[in-house]
């Protein structure tokens, strides 16, 4: 290799094929690709740079919401007690530093920049420490990719991990270990013995398993170098024995010093070992197979990480063998380039609904309700979280009755080995906006017990306690938030409502939760099922319910497809929510979806015997419909929808029950038509209607 004046390394001998291409001067697509591929092994740093650049771009611009959520599901406090608490477990130092760094994901581009910079440092250290020649340097990307995968694979685990600062723990642990291995390599052989002893003894409480793994790699590398140099082999062997003994003994010693770790966990401190077990996830039964349900899958990046470094540690001793392979660096480079994209794409939790949920969450904190609804529209089959977020957004915008069935509805499965409950994901936000402030607070506290206090919990706890009038308690959380880097300003904003409670009623963002808090206290439980609880709870409408409460109740009756609650709630809605003019005449029609529900449920009532009807139909058309029903909407339902139904008769069809007359007319030659067929047949024209939801969005699994 030669170095040019500009400091760019160029190969001494240009690649044979590349030279040939130049000579020919032909630039076909094939030759370009070939030229590019051939240049890869000769310009590894450029390729590594491209890898980091792409990673930065993806994190900064495609995963913003995820990074924001990760930072919100963590907390770092500038406080001694916080430090002591972190340090009360082995590897607590990594958690402490990790939590410090995770907070920068709050500003995703900044967070991504720091994260990628740390990865670059890890890459550089790996090359330096293991003396990896430049032409082999892509190999050093393998452990980097493993670290990235250990994070990118998390998915819904971000809500459930009990390891603070997880995103940085492996990265920091490796960086510190690499530095230690570097120092170890520079030391004379005799000095390595005390060094390893000190490293394991003092490193373990700070870094847990990473100190142990670092020691193992260290001594294997030392032995490998000794064998290669044929110097001090015996001493290196002795050192390895000593190190292995230390790795075995030191964690056991610390087990007696800490009272916060189980003996069986001491060799795994700093990993989510207590959760990533078959027992932990065994309670969740998945109907279909996916590797995302297999807990062993999540350990693969860690094994890859360890295997990479063990391999690198053994390279000196294998050098003679490896040198026999010509163009090994080309093979190694291409292997790495082939493995990394595949590995990362497999371990990147690329779930559209998960992404939408996180983006919605970010928009909800910004009270950007239109974005929440727009995001909801991107889902093919949404999760319940997405649907519920949509509904909250629409309630806040005052457009629920017109738009609540415009976005897709459904209850898509969640790809996670653990049982994902709304209580941990978006349930607190839902409880807050539905005015269930005690329940919002309760789940903040419950989850803080399980997963430690997190910014998201602190914010919810603060807001919910301010609105419920528990200012002393709210102030506690405000004081804590004041010790954070990015939420001290938010905390001060909240504090002003405690200092001047009269401002609370004037704050527009508090309107919905306050209006929804018009109910009387009751003793109840939600059993961790937020939606099921809310839909049931909202069916009880207080005497002096606010318009928002009545509307939310009516919405829920539609979601439940519950005609029995629909009619009285519609009555309440008309009385409480519909504006009247000076003559007490309704000033506007019902919102579109309520009209559709009215028309549908009326149709269903018609199909019943008069005695079984929930409501008397006489007079509805003349009286009610005159004021509240838009003829165009009625025409769309009775004309277009029912006509279409008439064309797809089937004995198994749900319409046969709803529309017996229509079916009877066309029932001469019944056609078998499955529900899926029906759904697609109707989706194009009616997917924004309540009656489409009523018939074709089925098997909703509330969470």
């Amino acid at each position: 290799m030669n170095k040019t004046k500009k400091g760019v390394y160029v190969p001494q001998k240009p690649h044979k094929d590349a030279g040939a291409l130049k000579a020919k001067g032909k630039r076909t697509l094939f030759s370009l690709v070939k030229g590019f591929l051939c240049a890869i092994p000769e310009r590894p740093l450029l390729v590594a740079g491209a890898f980091f650049a792409v990673l930065w771009l993806v994190l900064s611009f495609c995963e913003q919401a995820l990074l924001f959520r990760v930072s919100d599901l963590s907390v770092f406090l500038f406080d001694d007690l916080y430090f002591d608490n972190m340090m009360s477990v082995p590897a607590g130092f990594l958690s402490y530093l990790g939590s410090f760094l995770v907070q920068f994901f709050h500003l995703p581009i900044l967070g991504a920049t720091i994260y990628v910079a740390m990865l670059v440092l890890m890459y550089w250290l790996t090359r330096k420490v293991f003396n990896i020649p430049k032409r082999y340097s892509l190999v050093a990307l393998l452990p980097v990719a493993a670290v990235v995968a250990s994070n990118s694979q998390l998915g819904y685990w971000i809500f459930y991990l009990k390891l603070p600062g997880y995103y940085y723990i492996a990265l920091l642990g490796i960086i510190f270990s690499l530095l230690a291995i570097w120092a170890f390599r520079k030391l004379p052989l005799p000095a390595r013995i005390p060094f390893v002893a000190v490293w394991v003894f003092f490193g373990y409480p700070l870094m847990g398993v990473y100190a142990l793994a670092g020691a193992v790699v260290m001594v294997i590398y030392g032995l490998s170098l000794s064998v290669r140099q044929r110097k001090g082999v015996l001493l290196s062997c002795a050192l390895m024995v000593l190190a292995f003994a230390a790795v075995y003994m030191v964690p056991r010693y610390y087990y007696g010093q800490y009272s916060t770790i189980a003996l069986e966990s001491v060799y795994k401190a700093g990993t989510p070992s207590s959760q990533w077990t078959s027992e932990y996830v065994a309670k969740v039964v998945h109907e279909e197979y996916s590797y995302w349900y297999n807990i062993k899958f999540y350990w693969i990046p860690f094994f890859m990480l360890m295997a990479s470094y063990l391999l690198l540690a053994l390279v000196p001793v294998l050098k003679n063998i490896l040198s026999k392979f010509r163009r090994l660096h080309v093979a190694a480079s291409f292997s790495v380039l082939a493995v990394i994209p595949v590995f990362l794409s497999v371990h990147w939790f690329d779930d559209a609904n998960y992404r939408i949920e996180n983006k919605q969450n970010m928009a909800m904190w910004d009270e950007d309700w239109e974005t929440v609804v727009e995001l909801g529209n991107e889902a093919h089959e949404p999760t319940r979280q997405i649907v519920l977020n949509d509904n909250i957004a629409l309630l806040n915008m005052g457009k629920a009755g017109d738009m609540m069935f415009e976005n897709p509805h459904g209850s898509s499965d969640i790809k996670s080995p653990v049982g994902v409950h709304l209580t941990q994901t978006g349930g607190k936000m839902l409880y807050y906006y539905y005015g269930k402030l005690n329940f919002c607070y309760r789940w903040c506290v419950e989850d803080a017990v399980e997963y430690g206090w997190r910014l998201e919990y602190l914010k919810h706890a603060t807001r919910s306690m301010i609105l419920s009038g528990e200012y002393t308690l709210a102030r506690r959380y405000i004081n804590i938030l004041k010790h954070t880097l990015f939420y001290s300003g938010w905390a001060e904003e909240m504090e002003k409502y405690i200092d001047s409670p009269e401002l609370i009623a004037k704050e527009p963002s508090f309107r919905l939760p306050l209006q929804m808090s018009c109910y009387e206290d009751a003793l109840t439980v939600d059993d961790s099922f937020v939606e099921a609880f809310l839909t049931k709870d909202l069916m009880v409408v207080p005497e002096d319910a606010t318009p928002e409460y009545v509307e939310a109740s009516l919405m829920m009756s539609l979601v439940r497809k519950d005609a029995r609650s629909f009619w009285p709630l519609l009555d309440r809605y008309v009385r409480v929510c519909v504006p009247k003019n000076a003559n007490n005449v309704p000033a506007k029609k019902l919102p579109k979806n309520y009209q559709e529900a009215y028309l549908l449920f009326k149709q269903l009532e018609k199909a019943k015997a008069p005695d079984d009807r929930l409501i008397s139909l006489e007079g509805l058309s003349e009286g009610f419909e005159k004021f509240f029903i838009d003829p165009a909407i009625k025409q769309r339902f009775e004309g277009a929808f029912i006509s279409k139904i008439a064309n797809i008769n089937s004995m198994n069809n749900p319409f046969t029950r709803a529309f017996p007359d229509t079916v009877a007319v066309k029932d001469k030659k019944p056609v078998k038509a499955g529900e899926k067929y029906n759904a697609s047949y109707f989706r194009y024209d009616f997917s924004d209607t309540y009656y489409y939801y009523f018939y074709f969005v089925r098997n909703i699994k509330t969470n």
């Binding site: 996830v281 402030l437 309760r442 419950e446 506690r476 804590i480 109910y519 003793l523």
Partner: protein, 500 residues
Amino acid sequence: MKRITYYIFMMAVALLASCSSGVPSDSTPVERLPQIYPDYKGVTVPCNIAPLTFRIEEEGGDYVTRFTAGNHELVVTGREIEPSLEDWQSLVAAANGNSISVDVFVEQDGKWRGFNAFSINVSQDSIDPYISYRLIPPSYVAYENLSICQRDISNYDEETIYNNRLVVSEPDGQCINCHAYKNYRTDNMQFHVRQYKGGTVFVHDGNVKKIDLKTDSTISAGVYPFFNPVYDIVAYSVNNTGQIFHTKNHNKVEVQDQFSDVIVYNPQKETVTFVANDPDDLEVFPAWSPDGKMLYYCVSEFPKDSLIAERVSREVVHYRDIKYDIYRRPWNPETGEFGESELVFAASALGKSATFPRVSPDGKYLLFALGEYGCFHIWHKDADLYVMDIEKGTYWPLENANSDFPESYHAWSSNGKWVLFASRREDTNYSRLYIAHMNEDGTSDKAFLLPQESAEYYDFFDRSYNVPEFMKEPVTITPQEFVEVVESEPVKVKYSTKVK
């Protein structure tokens, strides 16, 4: 190099400032007491208490606090007042049963203001050197990172007796609760472990074992324990307990028993025996008298339904009607027989509910928590501590100890001069420990918050203290030794109709 010079300069300035600090010679009097947190103004403390650390809650640029006891003076600068152990001990020794006067000076806009002095009274009554408590996040159904700890109250040293993180209990989890000691000593003690490897860890004359107190005749394993201070038996309640949540009420949760009885465990025979198990009543919170011959407990006559589902429904709707009275039954240590039950305090007749009876070591007073309803007063804002003269039957609130927030989980010191209890008065949600000096007439002096090394400790400490107990000595069995017992199979106790 510039940076190093800067740091050296700053340190020198800081050192100089600390050396030159003194009480301002000229200050404008402020005719009120200063605001401080925790509120240690006018409290009575034992002479062996750790230094009281506090924060001055007055706006200002600089702060000087002067402690004066006899001829001894201690001046502390800064907003956070954290005297060293040595300084504090000298101060307390100088007070010698009298009070320490505290003057606070605050500098504002270049002028010093001097607040009215407040006193910290130093009692000559001794206090037990150790306390223990469970640290638990103020949660409802979740439990993670629970620990039972002991604290030397003459300093800030806290040790773990047991922590549920010492075992890997995922996914079931492990709850630990209800630590108790026999007569303030630790060679006979116990705590419960629930769910994973559940059982009662029982230290009997220094030997540790795990026992399973559930029998076919009793509704559950032992719950609320109380060691007989004289004889070798332990009273427990057995409970079928549930939690249910308020949607709006600030109390947030109700912990209710659907069924509960009182039993006695004989560790020598490994048997349990019913003391009170009327199917229509809820009996709970047993507590022995100091002579070990009288068992106090609480009784509610609320439920009449036999099925648990019916009881739950009724208790949910009528939770405010669940009232507990205090009863007692004499026990004959010779025969092991219990006598007839006797109503001691009819709280329900007052429309109240009394729980957690604790008899003073001299047998004169009964201390209990009194609230509007229910049994779990630590979540009831109206719950206060009350004292009853057992002989006269008169009772009164412990006014100087109570607040507008829950008070419960109280314990007498071994000499009956101090009461330790939990209160949520700081922020309504996290229970903290308070100690109140008891006077001869059954009243108390102003209670003080258990001091911590840092004045802002409680601002960030995210766990509640509950079930505090005084101890004459620390637990010497290590947490890891307890783990071995927890991991072992329990001794299964049997039901017996006789205690002895």
